[in-house]
């Protein structure tokens, strides 16, 4: 956006009088007041009664009923992806926690239960015993996503998550996999799903 240059003629009778400009300013705000006020007073209740979402795009999004759908590359809550056999893709390489500038990921590895099925594939041998993201420390930079060699951790579009305690704000493997189930088709907000992780 280019800067718009406005020339102000400081010395003019109109500016000296001041009240003229004051009046113009007042009229401008009054115009907006009338427009939105009328909408909020008449149209919005009617729409709400009819179960519709407000049509006035200039006004605030009516959050709990109406949710903003983030753009494609939005970085929200994390998820831990699974493969076709419903096993976690993560191999506990700790690349994400190494890349993490906020140091919010902590991982403990172990031998995976399905390691014996793949004697020649070391990549299937390891999986995380513990995978925890401290959401309170996370800065949603997406470095973990970049660092992950097996596309296991990903940032989703979910932005409305909260917790009533610090313990609940630590997302462990189960929670992150629930997030995966909710968001794998990318229609979390379109389908009006909600995340209930207070367990």
């Amino acid at each position: 956006m280019a800067t718009k240059k406005v020339s102000i003629n400081v010395k003019s009778v109109k500016n000296d009088l001041y009240l003229v400009e004051v009046f113009r300013g007042l009229m401008l705000t009054l115009k907006h007041f009338m427009k939105i006020g009328a909408h909020a007073a008449y149209q919005a209740p009617l729409e709400r009664r009819a179960g519709k979402i407000s049509t006035n795009k200039r006004a605030t999004i009516q959050y709990p009923e109406e949710k903003w759908v983030p753009y494609e590359k939005y970085r929200g809550l994390h998820r831990l992806n699974k493969d076709e056999q419903d096993r976690t893709k993560c191999v506990a390489c700790e690349m994400c926690s190494t890349a993490c500038p906020a140091d919010c990921i902590s991982i403990e590895a172990e031998r995976s239960p399905w390691a014996d099925e793949y004697p020649n594939d070391p990549k299937k041998e390891k999986h995380p015993k513990k995978y925890e993201i401290d959401i309170l420390r996370c800065i949603f930079c997406g470095f973990c996503e970049e660092a992950c060699p097996c596309e296991a951790i990903e940032l989703t579009e979910i932005y409305d998550f909260s917790a009533y305690s610090r313990e609940n704000a630590i997302y462990d493997k189960e929670k992150l996999e629930i997030v995966y189930e909710l968001t794998k088709d990318g229609k979390y907000y379109q389908e009006g799903r909600s995340l209930d992780l207070e367990f």
């Binding site: 427009k35 939105i36 919005a44």
Partner: protein, 355 residues
């Protein structure tokens, strides 16, 4: 029952009514301010709590009361504690001299519990003969709350806010006084009731437009509202004189601010817009209905001015401090002196013309 007791009962009732209306009004004005400002900025404002946000102010009030009352260690305890009270009291006291309706002719009518009425009921808490001066006096002490609060917090921003507030109030009291002098010149009385009556008989004093404008501007300054809210400007002084107040003490500052707005609006209406007067209508002929109508009209007029207060706040930027002083001493003060002189001349001419 004798007159004194009856007067006492009626006075108590009227005081209760005025305070009730003021406090309830404050919550409504706060809500109005928030919603209207939202509309002006293409937002919606608080619209969740109880029927389109009507309960928002009450919810906020409950929150403020329940919040922990933090008293910082470095404050001057005594002044810190009484400052909000000193701030709030004048805001409520001003309401005492504003007539909010015509006199109800109930003398001789028997009422339950009270018995036969001995005097007509004046819809004004105290009909004192120096009502206008009373307003000036009370309005001028409102600054103590700000000054004490600002000084007590032992915080340089608060102190600066307090200093600004006091200088501003002293500066703007002069033109306000002079604007009131024009009213006195026109009405020939200091009593609010008589001012209203005089307007009813002759004309609304808003016809003396310069005096009205001066009074309106100075009243903005007196209530510390934008564009004159230098005492509490957030960007420079981190909320100025109430920086370190929390809980209901902060709530009292808030109450005082909005209480001032209501009483000031009512005063503007009383002094320049005929108070409860409905133009071209003879209220006394309508009986009790006329009384109710007049009171409603008074409320309506006051509401319009409250809206103007809000409207101006969300439209205009804040003055710089030197601009503020310039406007007062170099602009409004000479203008108000001119207005007084002009009004006096016109009044004399009119008097000669009539006689």
């Amino acid at each position: 029952m004798d007159i004194a007791t009856q007067n006492l009962i009626f006075s108590v009732l009227k005081v209760a009514l005025v305070i009730k209306v003021l406090l309830l009004g404050v919550t409504m004005v706060i809500l109005a301010e928030r919603r209207f400002s939202a509309f002006m900025q293409d937002r919606l404002g608080p619209n969740r709590t109880f029927y389109g946000g009507l309960g928002q102010s009450f919810a906020d009030g409950i929150k403020l009361i329940l919040k922990e009352d933090v008293i910082p260690t470095h404050v001057d305890k005594l002044t810190y504690m009484i400052a909000p009270i000193v701030m709030m009291t004048p805001a409520l006291m001003t309401g005492a001299v504003i007539p909010f309706g015509p006199t109800i002719p109930i003398a001789g009518i028997s009422l339950p519990f009270i018995g036969e009425n001995l005097t007509p009921l004046v819809l004004q808490v105290a009909d004192i003969n120096v009502g206008l001066l009373y307003f000036v006096a009370i309005a001028s002490i409102g600054v103590y709350g700000i000054v004490m609060g600002g000084w007590a917090q032992n915080n340089k921003y608060s102190l600066l806010g307090a200093l600004r507030a006091s200088a501003q109030m002293v500066s703007y009291e002069l033109p306000m006084g002079l604007a009131l002098v024009t009213v006195v010149l026109m009405s020939g009385s200091l009593s609010m009731n008589e001012i209203v009556a005089h307007q009813q008989e002759t004309f609304w004093y808003v016809l003396n437009f310069p005096a009205f404008m001066i009074f309106l501007i100075t009243i903005f300054a007196e209530t510390n509202r934008l564009p004159f809210d230098l005492a509490e400007c957030e960007q420079e002084l981190v909320a100025g004189y109430h920086t370190e107040y929390s809980s209901m003490k902060f709530g009292m500052f808030l109450l005082a601010e909005y209480g001032n707005i209501i009483t000031s609006s009512a005063l503007v209406v009383t002094l320049f817009f005929g108070g409860w007067d409905i133009p071209f209508v003879d209220e006394s002929a309508l009986g009790l209905f006329g009384v109710i109508l007049s009171m409603s009209v008074f409320g309506l007029k006051t509401s319009i001015f409250i809206f103007i207060f809000i409207w101006v706040r969300w439209s205009l930027p804040r003055f710089r401090y030197d601009q503020l002083m310039n406007v007062s001493w170099k602009g409004i003060l000479p203008l108000s002196i001119l207005t007084v002189v002009g009004t006096a001349v016109i009044m004399v001419l009119l008097k000669n013309f009539y006689h």
